[in-house]
């Protein structure tokens, strides 16, 4: 994934620093609470939300189950419509393909629509290394790029910045990249949006190459769909002569009709709108309207490895709406940077360790970046059971086991630092399979309860530092059940 995240510390350390940043906490609280209430209202407007959610899940599951077939069909239909399809197994290959395509045009700058896939592969850095400047045109991406910052949210990468900080960045940095910010720029959102309009317009009007992702690709027709708000997407998709779209292989839907589900659930889940201001759909190239050359770069980059995991593959249903980030109590406090990936929040906690593997400290810690409260699952418009996958990935980190990496089956060793957890689980397994020992242990615990400490010693200390140890009852449940005949004999 993006080089900007290399060497990130584990989640607990990064989050510990973030929660002490008062400005960040305030910005995130304000933004996530604003959108939460709005989303709930937008969803309540449609009485068949549960059915739409289920249909979205089924469409994605069906597609993933026959992904090879739909990929081939998509390739055929895009090609028939005048597009050129490329395949990339990993980030390096995708970056090489895109860089070569841009070089072939002879251009040294490109305009970009916000795209998670190109962030994931670190495309901007790869282009820069070859002397090609990539200009981000989404407002939040622009804020991140000008601020030499990292994205912290899927939909609004600059969510960690408030209007005052944004004004500061625009006033300071815009002149370095092109048209300076207007004199006397204030921090009202309308003025900030206007400054972005003026700054980017000259870039749109002269751009010869546009780079985008896509929200959906329709296999039967070869149609690409980009959902956006500002019109920067339309600019990049319409004005340049060459368009390069970099899209993950899981973004396929089988038929044109399937869009009727996602075009209802995506806007309401992401920006809490009935419909986003602009949606562009194009199929190959159109004579005399828009780019004359269209390249589609399909990327794997860990997706087929994720597909190989029976529990974890549901993460590939994700349509990148970011509703799970906005409701997550952990995300709200820790912020997006602590997740060490372009995919933060609950979905990032299950996606990053699967796309990248759990070898690094940050990726091994991500399945634990959750209280398992389940709010993410509740709001997910394609019903990804994020808590289920989190628990599954925790098990993999602790126990190790067979996984697929780069298409090969490998056996992971149990991770270091989880010895106490493993020992506790082993002890529990033994006790639960030996009823006599369990009973004796429970009685001993009940009788000695006056002497129980309030916190755990040794490796358990960190766990009980923020939790109360449960008090043990005076009599084990099974003894009480036997003594009172299931509670029938006495009131006590």
């Amino acid at each position: 994934m993006s080089g900007t995240f290399v060497g990130m510390p584990a989640f607990p350390k990064a989050a510990h620093e973030a929660v002490h940043n008062q400005t960040l906490r305030g910005n995130l609280r304000h933004a996530t609470h604003t959108i939460r209430a709005k989303r709930a209202k937008a969803v309540a407007e449609v009485s068949d939300w549960a059915e739409l959610r289920e249909a979205g899940k089924q469409i994605k599951d069906h597609t993933l189950r026959h992904l090879d077939r739909y990929l081939v069909q998509l390739e055929e239909s895009v090609t028939a419509a005048g597009g050129i399809v490329h395949w990339a197994a990993d980030a390096d290959e995708a970056n090489r393909i895109v860089t070569d395509l841009v070089k072939m045009t002879g251009e040294s700058e490109v305009v970009k629509v916000k795209s998670m896939a190109t962030q994931e592969i670190g495309l901007n850095e790869a282009l820069e290394a070859e002397g090609i400047h990539a200009y981000e045109t989404d407002l939040a991406e622009l804020i991140v790029q000008l601020g030499k910052d990292r994205p912290s949210h899927i939909l609004v990468p600059a969510i960690h910045r408030n209007r005052g900080e944004i004004r500061e960045i625009f006033a300071r940095e815009m002149s370095e990249w092109g048209r300076p910010a207007p004199e006397g720029l204030t921090d009202t959102p309308a003025e900030l949006a206007d400054a972005a309009r003026l700054h980017l317009r000259e870039k749109f009007l002269r751009a010869k190459v546009g780079i985008s992702g896509a929200n959906f690709m329709v296999a039967e027709t070869g149609t690409m769909v980009v959902v956006e708000s500002e019109g920067n997407g339309r600019m990049c998709l319409t004005l340049p002569e060459t368009l390069i779209s970099v899209v993950g292989i899981e973004k396929i839907v089988p038929t044109w009709r399937d869009l009727e589900v996602f075009l209802q659930t995506l806007p309401r889940s992401s920006t809490a709108e009935r419909m986003n201001p602009y949606t562009s759909m194009w199929t190959g190239t159109t004579d005399d309207d828009g780019p004359g050359t269209f390249h589609l770069v399909l990327i794997d980059n860990g997706r087929t490895d994720t597909l190989a995991d029976e529990v974890g593959r549901q993460a590939l249903r994700c349509i990148r709406c970011s509703a799970c980030l906005n409701v997550c109590p952990v995300y709200e406090r820790a912020g997006g940077h602590a997740y060490g990936s372009v995919y933060p929040g609950p979905i990032g906690a299950i996606l990053s360790p699967q796309l990248r593997g759990t070898a690094s400290e940050i990726d091994a810690s991500l399945p634990y970046a959750s209280s398992l409260c389940g709010a993410c699952y509740e709001v997910c418009p394609v019903a990804i059971d994020i808590p289920e996958v989190l628990v599954h990935l925790r098990e993999r980190v602790v126990e190790g086991g067979a996984v697929t990496r780069d298409g090969n089956k490998v056996v992971l060793k149990p991770a270091k630092g989880h010895a106490a957890e493993r020992a506790a689980m082993r002890a529990a397994r033994w006790a639960f399979s030996h009823p006599g020992a369990l009973r004796a242990g429970q009685r001993l615990a009940s009788r000695s309860r006056r002497f129980h400490p309030r916190s755990l010693p040794g490796p358990g200390k960190a766990w009980s530092a923020t939790r109360d140890l449960p008090t043990v009852p005076s009599e084990p449940f099974r003894d009480w059940w036997q003594r009172t005949n299931g509670g029938k004999d006495t009131g006590k």
């Binding site: 500002e230 589900v261 419909m275 602009y278 949606t279 194009w282 199929t283």
Partner: protein, 220 residues
């Protein structure tokens, strides 16, 4: 082996555990959701379109067919527009009452030239009431995608009730995916500053939608 074959091979191996699944696509998805939300008369559907367009800050006007030219002339004058981009197949009657400079939608025009044009006027392919959306499909009365993008003022004429559907599921069958489509729901906007919506970024900052009553013409 090509990367294409590598990826397809990985997909097939990854799915080895699911076994053969011969469920045809038609039966794989339970489409228990609604074709439209609520039960409305034709008039009510048009009213809902107007309401939802306005809710997302489009300026909505309604008129009869014989009042359209005067209305359009008024809108251009009010805006102070001196030039208007015109798709090749636009009904000439619509501009009969104005003398602003017409700028033809030509393939040779550069984006910079379009940036000098004050307004653009088009028809649409379909309008969706529940979401307050108009859809352009690049037809002769709508022109190339860029003419409705670069000028800052877009006037879009919707023939009601013929071009209006209730919902997204009703709109898709009326559209041709081989054409370049642009779905527009209000003027350009952003939620990127503190997740609050602000209108007016790169697309036309003013969107005016004219709902022209076409019932007598269509005989519907």
């Amino acid at each position: 082996m090509s990367t294409r074959d590598v990826i397809l091979g990985r997909v097939r191996r990854a799915l080895a555990d699911v076994g053969q699944d011969d469920t045809p696509y038609k039966r794989a998805v339970d489409r228990g959701y609604l074709p439209e939300h609520g039960d409305r008369s034709v008039e009510q559907t048009v009213d809902l379109l107007a309401e939802n367009l306005a809710d997302y800050r489009a300026i909505v006007h309604r008129c009869e067919a014989d009042g359209l030219a005067a209305l359009i002339a008024g809108l251009l004058a009010e805006r102070g527009s001196t030039s208007v981009a015109v798709p090749p197949g636009l009904d000439e009657e619509w501009l009969a009452a104005t003398d602003v400079t017409r700028v033809a939608d030509r393939s040779e025009s550069t984006p910079h030239e379009l940036d000098q044009v004050d307004s653009v006027i088009t028809a649409c392919a379909v309008a969706i009431a529940e979401t307050g959306t108009i859809v352009l499909d690049g037809g002769p009365d709508q022109g190339r995608r860029r003419i409705t993008l670069v000028p800052d003022h877009h006037i879009c004429v919707v023939r009601v009730p013929d071009q209006v559907v209730s919902s997204v599921p009703q709109a898709l069958p009326r559209l041709d995916p081989t054409r370049p489509l642009t779905w527009i729901s209000g003027p350009s906007a952003t939620s990127d500053i503190e997740l609050d919506r602000v209108e007016g970024v790169h697309g036309p900052r003013t969107l005016e939608v004219v709902l022209v009553n076409d019932r007598t013409v269509s005989g519907n």
